[in-house]
Subunit: 335 residues, 2 copies
Amino acid sequence: MKINAYAAKHAKDILKPFSYDSKSLSEFDVLVKITHCGVCHTDLHFLDNDMGITPYPFVPGHEVVGTVEETGKSVKNLKKGQRVGIGWQIGACLECEYCESGQENLCANSKATCVGNYGGFADYITVDNRFAFAIPEEIESENAGPLLCGGITVYSPFKLYNVKPNHKVGIIGIGGLGHFAVQFAASMGCEVTAFSTSPDKEEEAHNLGADKFVNSKDAAQMQKTAGKFDYIISTVSGDADWMPYFNALKPNGRLNFAGISLNNVSVPISGLVLGQKSLSGSVTGGRAMIREMLEFAARHDIKAMTEVMPVSQVNAAIDKVRKNQARYRMVVKMD
Amino acid sequence: MKINAYAAKHAKDILKPFSYDSKSLSEFDVLVKITHCGVCHTDLHFLDNDMGITPYPFVPGHEVVGTVEETGKSVKNLKKGQRVGIGWQIGACLECEYCESGQENLCANSKATCVGNYGGFADYITVDNRFAFAIPEEIESENAGPLLCGGITVYSPFKLYNVKPNHKVGIIGIGGLGHFAVQFAASMGCEVTAFSTSPDKEEEAHNLGADKFVNSKDAAQMQKTAGKFDYIISTVSGDADWMPYFNALKPNGRLNFAGISLNNVSVPISGLVLGQKSLSGSVTGGRAMIREMLEFAARHDIKAMTEVMPVSQVNAAIDKVRKNQARYRMVVKMD
């Protein structure tokens, strides 16, 4: 069987139709007929070969929604016709200390959906069923895909770093990841401040659940945030002046990076020590946490705000992400 | 009553005899007759006015051991003749969210023993009894003082950051703080690696409880540590190349600064994210944690290895700290 996808042949190329032979199903695999796939900023990092490790042809896409079409012989928990979502990861050793403790996202042998494998901008994909997740009925297909990557990426650190309902939480960047973070933080009971360089996002930030909005380009507004936050999460993939955010932390506060900026963050050691502060990163989440996140999202009506375009316009969708014009996640729909 | 102390009149001055009138005891105060006082690197930071906030005349010393000589009328838990220790802090508001939760060390109105107050290189000191701690019998006076600052400084982050007995722990710097950190980590059941620029400390590091020793000037040895540690604590007050330590962390690993270096630490955001790592700082500990630390130290025979000099030679003692010649903590003994 031929799988019809969209691929780039070299760095920064536009995507063009590309087909490849599907592999035969091994015992734990499922063949999924894709209906939707989100466009994540990480797709652009790999498309542009920012890390120098992209294999070409490169078929992006790792926020996949579709239905199970065929199951390998050891697949027990999914059946034909069932709706599933697939995120960044489609494999892990399942034997190391991280896998055994439900942190497959940290497995050294993690296998990515679209790096070293052809991704979700395609009509079908074959994946290990242990990394395909049933999607709760309440969540529409066009809003579900981005939860599997963008959603878990910001949900996970709230749990990992023990953010509490009484905490004052700042969200840097109200985009694909940030608009999830605002919803999760508000649903967890936190006081939520949205930091954005786009003042026109203020109303929507409030609609998503933000209590406060700070224009991060306004130095006076930023200065007023000093010493106010227990937890700040950066969801942006560009650079920023991190010091105002570091200064915005209370004693014991944490600045966590969920978005990958390509440069360094530099802070005074005396500030870390005297404020007893933390800087950290977090990377997606394990399988149990993905299921928990989906259940939480369904219960709190948390979903991706998406703009849907047909897959034939995938380059235009990517372009909107590149220009920060997505409100808030671009999703391509298969024919 | 006149208190006889040793003071610097300006930055980097040598200490000379200096006397001042003792204040009258307020209700919670105790007058302590000092027998010993440790020399901490923070005394040197303030002596040199590294932070630009030192008031002169400056009487250093905040690792005080002595006996209660007189008690204010509301002092209930200490009595005349009792041996006590005093560390970095001698006051806090006792009403803010940090004080109420046993984190007086984070109180914005924290009062320091030797900044804005005349410190412990003196024959007497008057302090709020709520910041004077009974010293367990098992601990000799000449080994106790440094526990109150250096000891709590490295004990506290093990608790704060949830270091576990199975963890692989690295200690950067085997000096005043580091020689405590090795003892605490070993007594908590951790696998302990000592990182030092002084290969001649290897044998003593093992005697203190280190399982392994790495010469941090040896790039080949450092490279072999990549990805091995759950927790690394820096106890040094100088600069270092922090990247090899950042790279030495496992996924979920933390590099914590307990020593104050005056410059920045800079790490790649992608490394924080993909390794789900943390950088942090920690600053001494609250009163309950100081009492817990003293009890733990007594039970595990953890103490300062000290070199004791008479207070009349306080400048020579300071000089040995400055030249990293202390093995491992200089203590001055009052006449």
